[in-house]
Amino acid sequence: MQIDARGVHYRDLNRMLKEAAAAGEKEFVLDNVNGQRYIGTGVNLPVNIVINGVPGNDLAAFMDGPAVTVCANAQDGVANTMNAGTVVVHGSAGDVLGYGMRGGKLYIRNNVGYRVGIHMKEYKRQVPVIIAGGTAGDFFGEYMAGGVLILLGLERRQGEPLTGDYLGTGMHGGVIYLRGPVEPYKLGKEVAVLELDDGDEKILGKYLKEYCDCFGLDYQAVREEPFVKLLPVSSRPYGRLYVY
């Protein structure tokens, strides 16, 4: 199903999607999207949605199942509280990506903004994954409670930092993999930098190969640069706060 989204309000666009998906439509191509919010929200079926144009905020918010491909940049709040499915962005994306995300995958080709992966969480086999190919702003993995965050810093300009400040501040679960070293002053107080072990290699290999396939990247070339791992040094650091 092909939809010309030019000038269509997000409520109408999303209603069209939801109704057609419920009626059995599996493939959607949305042309001339510009700024419509919440695309993919409430569909809850394993459909494919290709977005031509820049989708609005909260793309795939609470999404449960669809595979979304964005052939442009995305804005703020992608994969907010997302539960299942995949979002692939062939460009950059904004701030607060994967806020409270609890499942599914978010793959971004280029840069991401501030507070990416804030409050991500996991439960047993529900493990959300975010991979960004470029650089990230401050507060990467802030208050992270679970899931996997991977940042690659590909094609960086000379002197361009991989991450911003306050890396993993308040983090108490999950894991962050960075392609390249991190300056200690940027680390949040709750994280430590470690080398990768065999288990990490397995996780990294699995997701990164999939990511490289998505964007036509050479996996071996991406792996040539060594990765480091960030883990929280305590679990539930605030668990005793307000207890007494």
Binding site: G94, G113, D138
Partner: protein, 376 residues
Amino acid sequence: MRGEFPRNPSGCAISGIISTKGRRMTGDIIIKSIALMHDRSNGLGGGFAAYGIYPEFKDHYAFHVLYHGHQSRDDTECYLKENFIVDRAEPIPTRPVAGITDPPMLWRYFLQARPGRPEQRGCTSEERGHSSFGEMSPDERDFVVSVVMSINNSIPGAFIISSGKNMGAFKGVGFPEDIGWFYRLDEYEAYLWTSHGRFPTNTPGWWGGAHPFCLLDWSVVHNGEISSYGINKRYLEMFAYKCELQTDTEVVAYLFDLLYRRQKLPFEITCRVLAAPFWKDIDRMAEEEKAMYTALRQVYGSALINGPFSFIVAHSRAMIGLNDRIKLRPMTCGVKDDLVFMASEESAIREICPEPDRIWAARAGEPIIAELEEGL
């Protein structure tokens, strides 16, 4: 609670465009951009600033004034005539628009300063006692500022919403696109437009409280809130700025006027005062830089703006975008040939420029400055 409550995805919207070659564009372009972000505002405020719109009066101070009654107008006009040569006084043209109700009286005046020393003009001795503008410097613009402050402060129901040369503010209660059509902005041409869609949170939605906030040819549109308002306001009061518009944003206009125009700091440094680097970052700087930023933070501690913000400040030669230091509000920038764009969302830029040469997210605390080319 029962029933269906449609979510209102609020947050305020800002958008701006400048041609660095001074090429003028009609207002429909900026209306189109801000209208795309309709859902960020709730109909309680919208507004625009436009530069280059009065070429036939380019050396006059153009006062846009909002009146809540005839008495306010009579008093204001009397005061203006005492202080300026009034070359033209007329209602601001509007057209009926469904979404705009109960507008106040909207007038504009094209004014020339009277010859002679500014501090000898107009002000009563009592007002001079309260004002440091006339006494500190013979700058005509200080005098204009004192007149604006005086009218906004002391004539009930009269508010000067802009007071620069060859520019003007158009604002009110409504969605921004409705406000734009109401003021017939499609009939104006400007080389720099900024706009705002409001979702008032802490202060009332009223005509004078809509953005932009202007003084001389400064204008500010702002998404966010200024937690340091009280400190900033008291600091500005020491320099005779009076904050009368019941909202936080006006301090930004006055801080730019104070730091850039009166104290002659460059734009870049002015921005670094308002969104100062954290001490932890200053500690890591090279000695010379460290000394400068330490001095700036010591001298201008009360001009630091705290809280979440992204704003676009404009004046006759530049458009400046600035985010708070930890990027708690969005801003995207774009460039296409001589055009520079800044907006809360990328889609608002793409709506009027589908294929920009470059588009990027502004970084926390780092000013984006787009200036007119030299000689224009």
